[in-house]
């Protein structure tokens, strides 16, 4: 097993997820780090946003993280051997008002990486754009849509369900091109 010092971001994530999973804590990678992964690091995030899918108590997560050598600093967990920060977000695992139905599992040398799909990653970024007008998130959505195969019709359906039909039509060409 690699030491934490030598782990890439996805490897570290898979390591933490697998260690937590052994303790019955199921977490899924979302947010900026999923954009990093799907864009082959064209966008760089130093945060690992792990969604605490089944609302495991914070104390239980805290103990498991301490055992791996992480310590809590504000809302993040830090480790002396890595620059990456780990944050636990409250569940349920959702994109807007809909639950995430499929989680991708990718086997790495350090464990199994559990991550939202490229299509859900685009939806997650678009949610921030739709609701907060965050243009950086729109750029990230476009980056993932260009790098990975995403289901544009599903993104259209979801946008409609979120009441963002007009907004989607304005940006859909950028996702497709």
């Amino acid at each position: 097993m690699k030491s934490i010092r030598n782990m890439t971001q996805p490897e570290l994530c898979a390591f933490v997820q697998s260690q937590l999973n052994e303790r019955g804590i199921y977490v899924v990678l979302s947010g900026g780090a999923s954009v990093s992964f799907y864009s082959s690091n064209k966008y760089v995030s130093h945060d690992l946003d792990l969604v605490n899918v089944y609302a495991v108590k914070r104390r239980v997560i805290h103990e498991a993280m301490n055992e791996m050598g992480f310590s809590e600093q504000g809302r993040h967990y830090i480790h002396p051997e890595t620059q990456y920060l780990v944050e636990f977000l409250p569940g349920p695992l959702s994109i807007g008002s809909e639950p995430v139905k499929q989680v991708d599992e990718i086997r790495l040398s350090t464990g199994i990486l559990r991550i939202i799909s490229p299509t859900d990653c685009v939806k997650d970024r678009l949610a921030a754009y739709y609701h907060w007008g965050d243009r950086q998130c729109l750029e990230q959505a476009i980056l993932v849509a260009k790098e990975r195969k995403v289901d544009i019709e599903e993104i259209r359906r979801w946008s409609d369900a979120e009441g963002k039909h007009v907004e989607f039509e304005k940006i859909s060409a950028k996702l497709i091109s």
């Binding site: 409250p90 959702s94 008002s97």
Partner: protein, 109 residues
């Protein structure tokens, strides 16, 4: 009204206040309900940690709003709307009838 299911009177106060006014900060919520500031701050913090609310700094004030990405937002707003209809008319009025439009600086009252 919703205390048996929310588990705290202050959580209901925070949610109802933000539901009716779209946003709020700890001091004004505590002042409105004539209650302890710490109790309100504590619930705002819990609701933000739980993803129900989001906050941003406006000057030196931390302003809270509903998180538009919270998956149960529509349902919780529907529940708060119904709860509000059971509130005494004067409280409902006071919550809803609040000047939010701008007032030009120096304009006489």
């Amino acid at each position: 009204m919703l205390q048996p299911i929310l588990g705290s009177e202050n959580i209901e106060r925070v949610l109802v206040f933000i539901f009716t006014r779209n946003e709020g900060y700890a001091t004004e919520i505590a002042r409105f309900f004539e209650t302890d500031l710490y109790g309100i701050q504590n619930q705002l913090d819990k609701l933000e940690t739980g993803g129900v609310l989001v906050s941003r700094l406006v000057g030196r004030t931390r302003l809270y709003t509903f998180n538009p990405r919270y998956p149960f937002l529509k349902e919780i707003k529907s529940l708060l709307d119904k709860a509000l209809s059971f509130y005494p008319a004067e409280v409902r009025e006071k919550l809803l009838m609040n000047r939010r439009r701008p007032r030009r600086r120096g304009k006489p009252l």
